[in-house]
């Protein structure tokens, strides 16, 4: 864990905003789960609770014109990159005012104007896309870069192996400014990493592609953020890929339907919760005297309010018009 004493005042202050965002996204997920139980949200719903420090640490470190891709556990990523909570919730509700006009839903959040290139439901399927996108950023002679978030489970798919090798190759010529972020939350649905990956150290797998890599504590915002800043600077400069494995934990079930969780025991979850990334960050900001009880309370209330507003917005938004059914199939 990054020692608080080593952090600059600037880093600490900047984290305040991200603390609030993390609180917001946690509340958002809670509300989404409630809405799911009430039948307001359909399909699959995968919440991010427990993993906030990862996306927050990474997305706080990129530039506005950078881009990113992730899988279906994507609400926090959208919120952190600035998508309005109302539009995110409306997408979950399948409303016309949703990020994708209600056509994508929870698994397919998408906000290209803010650099968010989706939200994908086939495990691993977005990794080739992100890799090609990274190539393009250099092809277009920019110094923008691409983040590709992926799960521990996704690493066992060919959809990971093939583009990772290509990234290694393209990186030689500085043509692949991508950071692969393995969000190792210990499980792929009901299958633990030790039961699905022949090696325990997932970061080390990138050696097979000559991609520099490291593991870090993904529960500590400051650790993530420090790693992210360093790695992002390097990737932006070199155009070579880099991989970080963030050790984290999913507090909730895999999806809203994963109630019994026969693959882990309650104790394990309780233990993990003692290192709640939000509490960890809160404690540090308190210790640095940047956060008082009153601040915490205010931030909580603001988050609750924002989420309430988002829910209200989603609830009151109209269904997509019937003719949307046939729109967006073809662009030409």
């Amino acid at each position: 864990m990054q020692r608080t004493e080593d952090l600059t005042r600037e880093e600490l202050t900047a984290a305040l905003e991200w603390y609030a965002k993390m609180v917001l996204s946690r509340r958002f997920e809670d509300a989404a789960e409630r809405a799911f139980r009430h039948g307001k949200i359909g399909g699959y719903l995968h919440v991010y609770s427990g993993q906030e420090a990862v996306a927050a640490g990474l997305l706080s470190a990129i530039r506005k014109d950078d881009i990113f891709f992730t899988a279906y556990r994507d609400h926090a990523h959208a919120l952190y990159s600035g998508s309005p909570p109302g539009a995110v919730m409306a997408e979950l509700y399948g409303k016309a005012t949703g990020l994708a006009k209600g056509k994508g839903g929870s698994m397919h959040l998408f906000d290209a104007s803010r650099g968010f290139y989706g939200g994908y439901g086939i495990v691993g399927g977005h990794i080739p896309l992100a890799t090609g996108a990274a190539y393009t950023l250099r092809y277009l002679d920019t110094d923008r870069l691409c983040l590709c978030f992926l799960g521990d489970g996704a690493m066992n798919s060919g959809s990971f192996h093939e583009p990772a090798n290509m990234a290694g190759l393209w990186g030689r010529d500085g043509l692949c400014p991508i950071v692969y972020i393995v969000e190792n939350n210990q499980y792929a649905m009901g299958t633990s990493v030790s039961r699905s990956s022949a090696v325990a150290n997932l970061a080390s797998r990138f050696l097979a592609y000559e991609i520099e890599n490291e593991r870090a504590d993904g529960m500590d915002y400051f650790t993530v953020r420090r790693v992210a800043s360093r790695v992002i600077n390097q990737v932006r400069e070199t155009g070579r890929p880099y991989a970080v494995e963030m050790l984290t934990y999913r507090f909730a079930g895999h999806g809203a339907a994963d109630l019994f969780q026969p693959y882990r025991n309650r104790g394990e979850v309780t233990d993990a919760r003692t290192r709640d990334p939000i509490t960890l960050l809160e404690d540090r900001l308190r210790a640095a005297e940047l956060l008082t009880d009153a601040d915490v309370e205010r931030i909580r209330r603001e988050a609750e309010h924002a989420v309430e507003q988002a829910v209200k917005f989603a609830d009151e938004s109209p269904e997509p018009a019937a003719d949307e059914l046939f729109k967006d199939v073809y662009g030409s």
Binding site: G43, G102, G105, G153, N156, G158, T191, A322, E324
Partner: protein, 330 residues
Amino acid sequence: MPELTYREALRSTLVEEMDRDRAVVLIGEDIGVYQGTFRVTADLLERFGPKRVIDTPISELGFVGAAIGMAMLGLHPVVEVMTWNFALLAFDQIVNNAAKIRYFSGGQVNVPIVIRGPNGAGVQLSAQHSQSLEATFAHFPGLFVVTPATPAEAKGLLRTAIRGNDPVIFLENAALYGMKGEVPDGNFALPFGRADVARVGKDVTVVAYGRMLHLALAVATQLLEEGIDAEVINLRTLRPLDTETVVSSVSKTHRAVVVQEQWKPFGAAGEIAATIYEHAFDELDAPVERVTGADVPMPYARSLELLAVPHEGDVIKAIKRTLYKDGIKG
């Protein structure tokens, strides 16, 4: 006859066949410790142990291919794909290996493998998770393509699949897992290529399979009130297709409606319609009607999704068109 759910019918058949033959093994994602996404394999890990109930990484291409290799060496793997959408990642293994090895080896080995899991739209699973892929697989010789619509069919067709010598694409449906129905005892099995006349009628033939059977039956009941007596054919398997049963029904009713969940172009209904024409052209008093899903990726919003899948009203209208009763209410 006991009443079982579709899920129990599948599960009990797996148990029976695994008890009977040690060559039967299960392989797939989260079928063991997790008990199966739809609980079709619940408790089987405990019962048969990890050598026979094999949890895999997220490696569809890898584990479907591995199961084919197992089948070549004499096992009878039953592979679960969490949904058929994910099996597209294993498409190469299925169509280039499973379907063809027997042929290009000159008959030296069989590939007795069953690949099973839910096919078709669920509820609001959106574009990547809502595909109904029967036409896609049924195009390839070397595969059987099976679409059980009831608990009895789930049992009878799964048994035939497991006892066979060839790769079987076994298309279940998430909406059916909880459905109850009577299931014959013992070694009950249903042959491939034999359709079922699910309802006898005289005015029009409605051809359906899988989940759409229930839509067709509901419509048939409803139309009786209007004096329209529909015959409903449940195909049970798409490859082979039971042309005879379909054609003999159409030869009696002189009208046909084919119902399918998926996109119309190059879908299953096109093949079925073309087959009807080929064998009963002179018997037809009206063009064959196709009732299909909308030709779009599946939208997430429930309101749009409902517009994208076939409804009773669509089947009723199609039936009336074949009877030249379009004007009439319905």
